[in-house]
Amino acid sequence: MTVGLVIVSHSSRIAEGVVELAAQMAGGTRIVAAGGTDDGGIGTSFDAVIAAIAAADDGSGVVVLCDLGSAILTAETALEFLDDGVRARVLIADAPLVEGAVAAAVAAGTGGGLDEVFAAAESANGRMRPDPGTEHAGAGTATSAAGGQAGTVTATVTLVNADGLHARPASEFVKLASDFDATVSVNGVDAKSLLRIMALGLGPGRAAELAASGPEANAAIAALVGLIESGFGEKPTTA
């Protein structure tokens, strides 16, 4: 059971491309393209949106992302034609298509609920709510050192892979961080927010300051340090 995504675009190739990109970042989620008109032209299709929502929904709900103006109008019109029970679990996110889809896909892929996936999509619109309750983890500088303030486990790890915490490694990081019963931050931002992590722009050689609290804080930090030190499976810069 995962939240599904529907990508509505004027162009079938844009919609399919966004699905391809988002699926690469978050395999296993249901992301359905609804691009172009029924005769393959530029525009949006009411029927295609209705069908895509049905295909994306396993009962967990659907977040719909749209490109330009009339895509939103078509999606909103489609929502009006859904049964009340289905409509209640379909949300149209106000977010840029590519960034919103990627963030939502990662949130859906890590088992996020409808509200969380919706919030992840909307985190891409530049009007993010203030990051709640993450403290800056500047406690230690020693690699993989655990310590810090009471209840918080911290570690500082140097990024060794060629591209640092860019899109794919960042999504792996978010997925792993989501596996633990812990509140994790990296350089002060929520480790479950793909876009916030990517916005840090942490390149190779930069330090990632991890902090975790909660029942599985130690395990989370150990696993995330391991992931970063492994270079995310990429060739390290100093190979």
Binding site: I42, G43, T44, S45, F46, S70, L73, T77
Partner: protein, 211 residues
């Protein structure tokens, strides 16, 4: 005499003709401030409605005809005009469901419902260079004509005349909604294609009622 299901069918037939005749004119209006597809999309939509008109029951009410137009435009017009006009016709149908004939009050009711549907869908207000700038004057003029005790064709004529003036009055406006809003002041001097097609459709409704 009220407007019948036959009037509604004839309005659809005439609308399809008028939109086809004005296809290029609407494209020409849309090209500098939109994406140039308004005339083509609307023409395709109304041709589809025309093709489905014979499938209606002989005793179809005006609301039945409006609903057919709504569903067909929503499904076949790829641009913003599909959901916007589709919602307008759908709400219009809802306002007069079951009525075999529409008197003046019913006309004002469906015009109002159509306008409110477009406002709901497009979230536009008056003065933002959209089809609302034709619809709202049309609704107000129709209500005024009803209050003056005018006949049904006269009420539609008042609506059409006000819509035409409203469409013309979009020319000096800066667009606040849709693709034209990206242009800022460069949209000044161009008439909004949606307001123009609204004026054409309401003029058609009045012409058919006056026959």
């Amino acid at each position: 005499m009220g407007l019948t299901g036959e009037w509604a069918r004839d309005w659809v037939t005439d609308s399809a003709e008028v939109i086809a005749q004005n296809r290029v004119a609407l494209i020409t209006l849309d090209r500098p401030i939109g994406d140039g597809d308004h005339g083509e999309n609307l023409d395709r939509g109304f041709q589809q409605v025309l093709a489905k008109l014979d499938g209606l029951a002989p005793d179809a009410t005006p609301a039945d005809v409006f609903k057919l137009v709504a569903m067909t435009l929503i499904s076949t017009v790829g641009g913003a005009a599909g959901p916007l006009y589709g919602t307008a016709y759908l709400k219009a149908a809802g306002a007069v469901t079951g009525a075999p004939e529409l008197d003046g009050a019913a006309i004002v009711a469906w015009l109002t419902a159509a306008r409110d549907g477009i406002v709901l869908r497009g979230k536009a207000e008056s003065g933002e260079k959209t089809m609302i700038d034709a619809w709202t004057p049309a609704v107000d003029a129709a209500a005024g004509a009803l209050a003056d005790g005018r006949t049904e064709p006269e009420i539609l004529d008042a609506a059409a005349t006000a819509a035409e003036a409203g469409a013309l009055a979009t020319e000096p406006l800066v667009a606040r909604k849709g693709r034209a809003s990206y242009l800022g002041e460069r949209a000044i001097g161009h008439r909004d294609p949606g307001a123009q097609s609204t004026a054409l459709l309401l003029r058609s409704a009045a012409d058919v009622a006056a026959r």
